[in-house]
Amino acid sequence: MDDSNSKKFQKDLNGGLVGLVLLAVLNQSSEDLYGYEIAKRLASANEGVSIFKEGTIYPVLRALSAGNLLTSRIVPSYSGPPRRYYRITDQGRSVLAEWTAIWAGTRNFVDRFIDKGQSP
């Protein structure tokens, strides 16, 4: 019961955050990245455990790409189907700046209440 509650909460939180994190990762990277590479970067940043399931980043990548926040190109690969490499666009960068500000504001707002409750 507890477990499914936390899972649902985590899933709801991830809804918008995955997009923000993906934009941030691609913004930091100097080269184009493909889905698997991005997934592994996220996992390695958090001691090998990604906060969200790596399978959920692919549809978000496609959605960001459809919204012109990312561009992509296809490169053949030996290990499987051709890989799709993503790169952030200028529009993506300005959206990232907006989203980062929103995230900072949200985090400060939430922390204000949570800190009070935890340190009486």
Binding site: T56, Y58, A63
Partner: protein, 302 residues
């Protein structure tokens, strides 16, 4: 999910396909493509482990098939909602009839009809040249590789046509090329490609695109020129009549039309005709999208 956890890439992809049953065929193709890219890369990244050992951990990294399926469903719903701008639906009959001028799909479909003559000629030439050269070269050593390259090119053309149709008509088409999973051997891949119904329906689509393209082009050009002529001839006639500019020796025939009271009716007919052309274009766009999807995209569940 009390189903057994997948122990191979094939099993995983099959379960994912089952989880997505009933979704848009193009969405399923994309989801399977993404999953295969990840799974194959993951297996390749751990050469010391067997495929089943890697797959054992996949539910905690990539996600179980049902989780991944729901992620695609959710994102698709959101994207669809964000991409389709809510259009004010005009209530009156006249509003519905003339509302077509506000629908960008009508214009893009009209453009598609004009373009389809060119694409039709190209596809037809490509398909017929490829087929006949494959048949002609079959007795030589080069025949088989030539045929295989031709088959591979068909898939590329199919993806490109799909992207064009989605841009023009808004119908969801695959955003990834078809990739065969399951078999690793070269000849079994070739065999699978030849057995794939979609390979042959795509070929049929490319050949049929020439007659269809001619028909679309003729309908669009005749409709446009007729309606635009009806709309603007009265204006030119009037400017000539009052000497605003010299349109030469302009005569409208039959002669009973060449009177001042008939001109507004002529213009009205032109505008009605133009609206009709826009409706036809939008309808053709929708029908063609359905037809293209049936031939170019594998039906869900296969």
């Amino acid at each position: 999910m009390n189903r057994s956890a997948p122990r191979s890439i094939d099993q995983y992809l099959r379960q994912l396909r089952e989880e997505l049953a009933g979704e848009d065929a193009a969405l399923i193709q994309d989801a399977l493509y993404d999953a295969e890219e990840y799974l194959r890369a993951e297996v390749a990244a751990h050469p010391e482990k067997s495929e089943s050992d890697v797959l054992e951990l996949i539910a905690s990294t990539y996600g179980a098939p049902d989780e991944v399926a729901s992620a695609y469903r959710d994102t698709e719903a959101k994207v669809k909602a964000a991409m389709t701008t809510p259009r004010k639906v005009p209530g009156s009959a006249a509003g519905i009839f003339f509302g077509v001028f506000l629908d960008p799909r009508a214009y893009t479909s009209l453009f598609f009809m004009l373009l389809s003559l060119a694409t039709g000629v190209i596809y037809f030439t490509f398909a017929v040249t490829g087929l006949s050269l494959s048949a002609g070269l079959a007795v030589l050593v080069i025949g088989i590789p030539f045929f295989l390259v031709f088959m591979a090119l068909i898939r590329v053309v199919s993806l490109a046509e799909g992207r064009l149709i989605e841009a023009m008509t808004g119908e969801r088409m695959p955003r990834r090329p078809i990739h065969q999973s399951g078999t690793s051997g070269f000849w079994s891949r070739v065999g699978q490609m030849l057995k794939d119904r979609r390979t042959w329906t795509t070929l049929a689509y490319l050949i049929l695109m020439l007659p269809l393209g001619i028909a679309y082009f003729v309908i669009a050009v005749v409709g446009l020129s007729l309606s635009l002529a009806f709309t603007f001839t009265p204006l030119i006639y009037l400017s000539d009549h009052y000497g605003w500019f010299d349109a030469g020796n302009l005569h409208i025939g039959p002669a009973w039309l060449e009177s001042l009271w008939a001109l507004p009716f002529m213009m009205l007919t032109g505008i009605l005709l133009l609206t009709l052309v826009m409706h036809v274009a939008r309808g053709v766009g929708r029908l063609h999208a359905m037809y293209a999807k049936a031939l170019l995209v594998a039906p869900a569940g296969i």
